[in-house]
Point group: C2
Chain length 283, copies 2
């Protein structure tokens, strides 16, 4: 149970954290701050929060858990801004898709005594963005990464892990750099692949998509994701994504070469390896 939860710059994820915490009775008090005055005005009417703050500093006053729900660049700026204004015992976390640069920057920020930053990344989302699309069930059955470093106080880590579990997700704790390599492969590479497949088809006859079955629909679904969000992710996880992309290009070239050579033993091996891996997904 959190006495006072503060959520800064809620988008889809931040609003979902607030809604889920409210629906599950996890926080006695929920304060939200948004950058734009018109969003703050709209938030005033919502029944899943108790208070709308006018500034980040006001929002974090007295909070024991602060969630920075802004885009990656802004998370670093916000953490620097609120650091000296935190109340003793406060834990600051975020929901950004990349953890290395954020956790490294946070480690260098001035911060009130007995407070800390621990990165979080809930593997939940939608092609939809914006706080209006937040739902209380967004984290149910999903994985949330929590990324402590060597200096993270174990009790703070346990509190943060307990919070994400209480929102319905399972929690995996890994170092920020390990997180970034994993998501480069399981999230950022699929985005680059789906976008590139969509671009391949867009360059031919754009109406062909209307003839497709569900295969193309599913394979390219995430190509519809928000471009601005993804540019930030690729900027901040560039090196790990490049490594994953290089490996994928090798796999695709090997498939193409086998097809060129009519090497059906190799094509079968690749189809079966992919199937075995995909069949291993939890239902």
């Amino acid at each position: 149970m959190i006495a006072h939860l503060a959520i800064l710059a809620p988008g889809l994820l931040g609003a979902s954290v607030a809604r889920a915490a409210c629906a599950r009775g996890l926080a006695k008090r929920i304060t939200v701050w948004a950058r734009r005055a018109e969003v703050r005005a709209a938030l005033h009417g919502q029944d899943w929060l108790h208070n709308v703050a006018d500034t980040p500093e006001e929002a974090v006053a007295g909070a024991d858990l602060v969630v920075l729900a802004a885009p990656v660049d802004k998370i670093i700026e916000l953490d620097r801004q609120i650091g000296p204004h935190l109340s003793a015992g406060a834990i600051v976390t975020d929901v950004g898709s990349v953890k290395g640069p954020i956790c490294a920057a946070a480690a260098g920020h001035a911060r009130a005594a007995n407070t800390c930053f621990i990165g979080s990344h809930p593997m939940a989302g939608s092609e939809k963005t914006g706080w209006e699309h937040g739902t209380a069930s967004l984290f149910e059955g999903r994985v949330t990464f929590v990324t402590p470093n060597a200096d993270t106080p174990p009790p703070a880590l346990r509190t943060l892990e307990t919070f994400w579990r209480a929102l319905g997700s399972s929690v995996v704790s890994v170092a920020p750099e390990a997180h970034d390599e994993i998501v480069a492969n399981i999230s950022h590479l699929p985005q680059a692949v789906a976008t590139s497949l969509a671009c391949t088809l867009a360059a031919r006859d754009g109406q062909w998509r209307h003839l497709a079955g569900n295969g193309l629909r599913d394979t390219t679904r995430i190509a519809a994701s928000d471009a601005a969000m993804w540019i930030e992710i690729f900027q901040h996880n560039r090196t790990a994504v490049l490594q994953a992309l290089a490996r994928h290009e090798e796999e695709l070239a090997a498939f193409r070469r086998a097809l060129e050579q009519s090497d059906w033993v190799e094509i079968r091996a690749r189809l079966e390896r992919g199937k075995l891996w995909r069949d291993g997904f939890r239902a």
Copy 2:
């Protein structure tokens, strides 16, 4: 209304044609033949057909529409086998994923007078295979390609188009070669991409998939498809798939080069081009 519908070698698609035709009252009589005696025995108990034939020749006797639902190789063999045994006025079609080689072979087969072969390809399916998984609703809202050639009698083409529409699908009529180029892009390329993405991830830590969100799940869903079916498709549509793969490799390499060069204008243009294309899918 078909007086006598014969379905040879039903798998998922053939059984779905029979079930849909039965459910919608489109055929007075439905006869099915399966290669294996144990399948024929199991089919005897099904309530969506009227008769189980012991041979292909027996199955097509008196039929006015014959659907060859076998894998691509076997379609050609079956069409050759039944050609001389068809009743006058019979239309033969198939449900194979590649049309050029099948339609070319069929054009050379001996055939009873006043009968013809016209290729079909319903863009419907499932990772599941086998006649047991057939459903009466499989074609609803889907596209079915019908691939006449220059010699196809217009009334036969109209009858076949009407049949597929009556099963619930919309119909697109194109030449066999145009069909093969389109499906190389909208179906066979996505399969090669999903398989190669699955292989990329399988080569790293196979347990990472359990940490992924829905993006990876959707992007790789069709990697779980039946390997034997896909080898046949790649064999029969090799040239068109190679062309589509080469174009996709260029798109992926261009994305990777832009990322290497931190060319965010180019990355944004690619993300937005993919999103625009994907947003254009019908809901």
